[in-house]
Structure formats: C-alpha cells, structure tokens
C-alpha cells in the first residue's frame, strides 16, 4: 500500500539552503535573526528602485550625470546607495547609436546597491553564454528590437567592477517630474535587455 501523502518534495536548491542554514545555526556561526534581516533588507530596501532614482536624476540634472559618468561609485553614493557588490561602479550610457547590456559570464556578478539581487535568468548559463555571442537575438527574446545601425556593446563584469546601464530617456517625457520618470526605469532597462518604458 503506497503512502497516501500529498507532499511535494522540496526542490534541490531549497533543500540545500535549509541544510546549510541549519548547520550554520547549530554551529552557532550565524544567528537566524541575521538571516531574516538580510532577506528583509534585499526584499524591501535594496532593489532596482534605487537604480531608477540614479537614472532619473541623471536624466534631469546634467551636472549629476557628468559626475555619474566620471566617478559612478561616488555619484551613486550621493543618493545613499553604496556597499556590498557596488564598491566600484561603472555606468555605461545608451545613446542613439550605442546600446549597452551587462552580463557576468563567469558567475553572477551584479550591482546590488542599485539593482538588488540578480534575477534567476541573469545567473543562468543560457543568458551568460548567449548574450556575449548573439546579443541581438537575446534582446529580441526580451522584446527589444534595435535598428541594425545601433552598435551593441556587451559588458562582461568578470572582475571587480560592477556595471549599470543608463538607458536613454524616452521621447515625450519633457514635462515629467523626477518621480514620474523613475517609474519608467525598470530593472531590465538597467541591465540593458530592455529600453526604458514609454510614458502611458
């Protein structure tokens, strides 16, 4: 008689995380409250809305944009965003003729203070291996079609620099406030797989 339990087995990753957590806690290396706080921090405080503030300020304040392009880490820290995985930032600007996109082919390096933790696809082998070889097709899969005349520049953050894309400001946004502009800036547009959203 088979067991009549309807429990789904835990996915491998979750099992591994639970095993690691329990052993670290049992050995008194990690306080569970620290894990809760880390999760809460990256769920509610540190994420792509930070990066959107950087982008909207750069769109509306030419002096700020100049500082951002010259010393990105310092200019981003002006807005209060700094720390782990954002210590040494480089901002790359999309223009009429150049579109930038960021990857880490070796693992999953990503600018945490401005974008939060990376999405699963960013860490997955298909994105990492394909975007350095055929970025145009990868961008199409994200719904981003660029003119053939636009150069695509792929940035592999394989060392200690972390890259943030400054998307182009969409047309038809002249009268918009900084807060309204922030709403047009998605996480994906700052990785470079999409453009900034058009105003509704």
């Amino acid at each position: 008689m088979p067991h009549d339990h309807h429990y789904d087995p835990l996915p491998d990753t979750e099992l591994r995380v639970r095993a690691l957590e329990s052993i670290l806690v049992e050995k008194d290396l990690v306080d569970p409250a620290a894990i809760d706080l880390l999760v809460e921090t990256y769920e509610t405080k540190i994420g792509p809305r930070n990066g959107a503030k950087v982008v909207a300020k750069a769109w509306t304040d030419p002096e700020y944009k100049k500082r951002l392009m010259e010393n990105a880490s310092a200019a981003i820290a002006e807005l209060g965003f700094s720390g782990v995985q954002g210590e040494d930032m480089v901002v790359v600007e999309n223009t009429e003729g150049v579109h930038n996109v960021v990857v880490c082919t070796l693992c999953s390096c990503y600018p945490w203070p401005t974008l939060g933790l990376p999405p699963v696809w960013y860490k997955a082998a298909p994105y990492r291996s394909r975007v350095v070889r055929d970025p145009r097709s990868v961008l199409l899969e994200f719904g981003t079609e660029l003119p053939a005349s636009t150069e695509i520049h792929v940035w592999d953050s394989n060392a200690e620099l972390r890259y943030l894309v400054l998307p182009q400001r969409p047309s038809g946004t002249d009268g918009m406030s900084v807060e309204q502009l922030e709403e047009l800036v998605s996480r994906d547009s700052m990785i470079g797989v999409k453009l900034a959203d058009m105003p509704a």
Binding site: D31, E87, V132, E160
Partner: protein, 117 residues
C-alpha cells in the same frame, strides 16, 4: 556568540569591501588605445581570464586602476595588478558571420595581456 548577528548586518551591507588598491605605485603596463592580445594560457587554478577571450585580439578601452588580483587572492595569496577594460569585436571572438560592429568589453589584469607591436 554567532559570528553573523543581526547587529552587524547593516554595516556589512552598507560598507562593502572594495578590491581597489588605492595606495599602490604600480605603473600601468598598457595604455588606452593599445592593440593587445590575451594570452592563451590555461591555468588549473582560479582565474578571471575567461576562456572565450584567450588568444583573441582587442583594444584597451579603459584603465580601471589597481585591484587585488583574484587569481592569487583566491588561493589565499596577496597580489595586485592593473585592471583594464578591453574591447573585442564579435567577429574576432566568434569568427566569420559575426558582427564587426558589435562588441564585448571584458575586464583583464596585467598578466592576461600582451601588447601587439
């Protein structure tokens, strides 16, 4: 007491630890605009020399400064080198049929690079 407590989390998250070496007098070996080739070496230990650029020719695009050298630090050693952004065409990396006007930029340390005359 646990090594990682809730009290230390905010400092850890907001502080970070830059790998940049600010007090080094190490001269840069390559200049922006230099034509360079990545060495075709195959370390069995940690390296940031991605396989797909080994033996490939590009141009130095930016000098980032001096950073801890991951290949050594990963094995508990100490060392630092200049780090540069090097630009390659898709055609150089992937061959015929790939774009000569789309590019990959990757961050390379002194030891990975040789200058083309």
């Amino acid at each position: 007491m646990a090594a990682l407590t809730a009290e230390v989390v905010p400092g850890l998250v907001s502080g970070g630890a830059s790998a940049r070496v600010t007090d080094s007098d190490l001269a840069s070996k390559f200049a922006v605009g230099d034509k360079v080739r990545m060495k075709n070496i195959n370390p069995t230990t940690h390296t940031r020399l991605a396989r797909y650029v080994r033996g490939k020719e590009g141009v130095v695009n930016m000098h980032h400064g001096v950073f801890h050298f991951n290949d050594v630090v990963a094995h508990h050693g100490e060392g630092h080198q200049n780090c540069y952004s090097v630009k390659f065409t898709m055609r150089e990396l992937w061959g015929e049929g790939y774009s000569a006007t789309d590019y990959v930029y990757i961050d390379m340390f002194d030891d990975y690079i040789e200058k083309l005359s």
